[in-house]
């Protein structure tokens, strides 16, 4: 049973990671100049930073309980809090340090709060800051990404029998593989679920499914086949 659960957890974790990365509002280098909407860093950088906080929380919780939902949800909430504080601090800099109103460059009106964007946007830019819809999308994305990362970590600790440190490093590696694949699909910047690029998600899900399957196979070999001399 455990080998099947390893495959299921790692593949589901990888797919959740990919969905989460697509939901995070990331503006890359242009956002650091207020030329693009989103958080001013790269997709993998942001998602990995958030996942690390989630992984830390999940590892602490895994010492107390072996409940898969509690460990995974703890990682998800840790990741969500990290991104929420980061986005809020970014808004503080945009609004109070540079005098810029956060707006989207892809839609004219906020799909959640109905706020108008067009009349607040600087010409020749692709939006700036983190508007309400992107903030919400980012929180959901970090939640899913953190859940995925913690789920992978859980399967390595409780199903593969790795020690905590090795599980942390391996979970980080599998998370990064999925995050980088998703980043290639996004191609630099994305604002959240309202961005037209979000429709490219199925392509990334397929790629992440294959990548996670390969990762799970290696984990299976290391955890089961090697110790009994199967190879």
């Amino acid at each position: 049973m455990d080998p099947i659960l390893i495959f299921i957890c790692i593949i589901v974790g990888g797919i959740l990671t990919s969905i989460g990365v697509h939901l995070m509002p990331v503006g890359g280098a242009p956002a650091a100049m207020g030329t693009a909407t989103g958080v001013a860093t790269g997709v993998n950088m942001l998602s990995t930073g958030a996942a690390m906080t989630g992984l830390f929380t999940a590892s602490t919780v895994a010492m107390v309980t072996s409940n898969i939902w509690l460990v995974s949800l703890s990682g998800a909430v840790g990741s969500m809090l990290m991104l929420a504080f980061t986005m809020l601090s970014g808004t503080l800099i945009y609004t109070q340090g540079t005098g810029i109103v956060p707006v989207s460059g892809r839609v004219t009106k906020d799909p959640i709060t109905g706020r108008d964007f067009l009349s607040y946007k600087t010409p020749q830019t692709d939006g700036h800051g983190t508007p309400d819809v992107s903030f919400l999308s980012g929180e959901i994305g970090a939640f899913l990404g953190g859940f995925g990362g913690a789920l992978i970590f859980y399967s390595l600790v409780f199903y593969a029998g790795f020690n905590i440190a090795l599980s942390g490093i391996a979970a980080l590696g599998i998370f990064l593989a999925n995050a980088v694949l998703s980043a290639y699909n996004i191609g630099g910047t994305i604002e959240g679920f309202h961005d037209p690029k979000f429709k490219l998600l199925p392509r990334a899900l397929l790629a992440c499914f294959v990548a996670s399957l390969i990762c799970a196979s290696f984990i299976y070999i290391v955890a089961y086949a090697l110790p009994i001399g199967g190879i």
């Binding site: 207020g34 930073g49 010492m63 809020l88 919400l136």
Partner: protein, 304 residues
């Protein structure tokens, strides 16, 4: 039980304060060494004819760079701790060796980057290289020693259930990546949007036509990165530190509150998850209110 709770609260507050200092200096180091997303403009500047005296060491993103420095520092510190050294000696020794690694990367990155821009006639200023290396190392040292101290507290000192299951070097990697991610996301905006384009109109996103045309003069003569740090230390750096400090504070606080309120461990964790979700929802509304306030205060775009 009360004594243990008070001890945990004391350590949580200390960790949050150290995180504030470390986050601030991490961002200021990326400003003094120009290692972040805004550095794309420094690289572009020479290509559009803007010969400049900015330092240029963005050979990797901040998260992997700080993951490296902090993991090196925590790893060295663990070795010294294993030899029986006191933490007061072991942690600075680890951070010191990480600072040497940092300076090596910074110097080769600057020379390599600038040499590759020869076709754009960008000179390599030796005074920029020599004068900036020490500020880069010292700012980085403070950030790394802060993270290493946090790792030490979480791995060895933190009482009860909040003690980390990860070994100290892995904690160094985790918090190094996280602090790099936050510094890269938050403080960069002040450097990139405001400081690099101080001669452009205030209160608007920087248009694509401005890209690469960075300001090269400042308050005190020919510009160097010390002026950048002086500027960013007033707002961008502290806000970055605040973000990292708040993350660690609320992450630990919700766990502590959960374990104080819940009976069984499962119930305690469920409560801490619930508190985390409430905080995240509250942050959304704070952001909503802040954006609403500035929309009313600044009004619609009035430029050309």
């Amino acid at each position: 039980m009360i004594t243990i709770t008070i001890a945990i609260i004391a350590w949580i507050l200390l960790i949050a304060f150290i995180a504030l200092i470390a986050g601030t200096f991490e961002d200021l180091e990326s400003d003094v060494g120009s290692q972040s997303n805004p550095n794309s403009q420094v690289q572009l500047a020479a290509q559009v004819g803007y010969i400049n005296r900015f330092f240029n060491k963005a050979i990797s993103g901040e998260p992997p760079a700080y993951g490296l420095y902090c993991a090196v520092s925590a790893g060295i510190a663990v070795v010294f701790l294993g030899q029986g050294y006191s933490p007061i000696l072991a942690i600075p020794l680890g951070a010191g060796i990480a600072a040497i690694v940092h300076m090596l990367l910074a110097s080769t990155a600057y020379m390599g980057r600038t040499a590759s821009q020869r076709r754009f006639e960008q000179p390599m200023y030796l005074d920029v290289l020599i004068r900036q290396l020490l500020p880069i190392a010292t700012h980085g040292f403070i950030a790394v020693i802060g993270i290493t101290t946090i790792c030490y507290i979480q791995a060895y000192i933190m009482p009860g259930v909040l003690q980390s299951a990860f070994p100290m070097p892995l904690l160094g990697l985790i918090w190094g990546i996280t602090i790099g991610s936050i510094g890269s996301s938050v403080g960069d905006v002040h450097y990139g949007t405001e400081r690099e384009f101080q001669d452009r109109p205030f209160g608007e996103g920087k248009r694509v036509v401005y890209h690469g045309r960075i300001t090269r003069y400042s308050e005190c003569g020919v510009r160097n990165q010390n002026d950048v740090v002086y500027f960013c230390a007033k707002y961008g750096g502290p806000i970055t530190g605040l973000a990292f400090g708040l993350i660690l504070l609320f992450e630990n606080w919700r766990s502590l509150l959960g374990f104080s309120l819940g009976g069984s461990p499962e119930m305690a964790i469920a409560i801490s998850i619930g508190i985390g979700i409430v905080i995240a929802v509250a942050l959304f509304f704070i952001n909503y209110a802040l954006v609403g306030y500035v929309r009313k205060r600044y009004g619609t775009f009035v430029g050309e």
